[in-house]
Symmetry: C2
Subunit: 274 residues, 2 copies
């Protein structure tokens, strides 16, 4: 998907919400467990119910890998089921030497029709660039994550005065640009969002951690939105586990709609400022 298409979907949906498909077989409603493929059945109903409120879906690959070959099949069916106009993110956090990253790119971009994959930058340039070789696909580089452990290395300053995450962003921007690269930017502090936006004014950010992890959607939007939106904000548990009974999909839709309505407002308020 091209950047202009993504922005066009955002404008028509009035939303920059990504629904995280962290589908845990332990947490899905009991009545689905008798289905042949309960994980896919759950995802299918969640997708049907939330479609009009979001622009992206993000399966967290670990949840599928933990189920072995069967999980891999549920994942493949899920990706095929997501409509073409939705942005499909493989939350995989992959990254290895060049020939190996190429194979991960093949797995997610060729064998499955993901539009984007999250990539860990620790191994540097040749671990990231194989993902960038695919036209109209996106590499989402971990920059500043939202978890506790982000403090351990990402916000340590180097001798040039940059935090590691800043160095990661600056170097990554030499390898790709805002047409094929995004960054993961945790949303727990709005002043951070303002700083990081200055560093990459035109890139899309994938923002986890709004809701359950305590980030404020208003603050993130205020400091993160650009003239072409520039934000994809993820919510997983808050939407897909809104309830745990026969009405789970309806309840997921209600939760997604609430977020979408808030986003609609911020698109008016903050996008116009540009």
């Amino acid at each position: 998907m091209k950047k202009s298409e993504l922005f066009s979907h955002i404008q028509s949906t009035r939303s920059y919400l990504c629904v995280g498909l962290d589908t845990d077989i332990q947490k899905i409603p009991a009545h689905l467990k008798k289905e042949k493929d309960p994980v896919f059945e759950f995802n299918k109903q969640i997708i049907d119910a939330t479609l009009e409120y979001c622009i992206a879906y993000k399966p967290n690959i670990a949840f599928y890998e933990a189920l072995g070959g069967a999980g891999w099949e549920s994942l493949q069916k899920t990706v095929e089921y997501i409509p073409k106009n939705k942005f499909k993110i493989a939350d995989a956090k992959r990254g290895d030497i060049g020939n190996t990253s190429s194979l991960y790119a093949k797995a997610f971009f060729e064998n499955m029709s993901f539009d984007a994959i999250t990539v860990a930058p620790y191994m540097g340039k040749d671990s990231v660039t194989p993902f960038l070789e695919y036209k109209n696909k996106w590499t989402i580089v971990l920059a500043h994550t939202s978890n506790q452990g982000s403090k351990d290395f990402q916000v340590v300053k180097n001798t040039s005065g940059n935090f590691l995450y800043e160095d990661v962003m600056l170097k990554s921007m030499e390898w790709g640009d805002d047409s094929n690269m995004m960054f993961v930017v945790g949303a727990t502090r709005s002043d951070k969002m303002r700083e990081i936006r200055k560093l990459a004014p035109d890139h899309f950010f994938l923002v986890p951690g709004v809701g359950a992890q305590g980030g404020s959607l208003e603050e993130v939007s205020k400091y993160g939105l650009t003239k072409s939106c520039g934000l994809i904000v993820n919510s997983s548990r808050g939407i897909i586990y809104a309830s745990n009974n026969k009405n789970f999909a309806k309840d997921a839709a209600i939760s997604a709609k609430l977020v979408q309505q808030e986003m609609d407002k911020y698109l008016d308020l903050f996008l116009a400022n540009e």
Copy 2:
């Protein structure tokens, strides 16, 4: 597997060789391609042939994931086929927020019987510790890798005067110890190996990059061996693709034996120094 058992296998095999199962469907001999599961058939014959010369096997997960569900099955069959006294490493370079890393740990340690997994440290403590919760399993943290891109971030100095890889090792050693944690240490320069060994005198290092990537086994052994060996040296392509005809397994055995004989010598020369 406990550290003492691993060392005991090293002593009886007179080897610290790991055979990397980077099994590429494009590269396996033509006569195997008519088999029902060519990847597993190839691995099976490689394992049978190299068993007496190595102490570990390391499937590179990307090669299996690139084949989808079928690849996942080949991987599972391969891990089951490897004898119990061999150390089984999932070269997966995983790492995510806590609940997600837990699921990766489940996938590789519970659903499959891997003894160890390689882990990327960028997301910090809570991305690494879920792997450490498994008894007699090993977390192999990326420290100083052997690829070109290792220069981009790993050898950048922070304001405390540590390289990033040093910081990763020092912090990781607060989360685990030499009974459940190893480090990936690239072998391309022997002076580096000496420095890094000082930092972690008791930990096992998984060393890629000997052979194809130009590291010298002698130098690595001289500066890396400890009183309980402390080294697992991997070779992938040099062994499994020693030839590409009906004799591929025999040729792999010859290549593995050459490395083992060299290691036998270094175990005498350098282990005694301790």
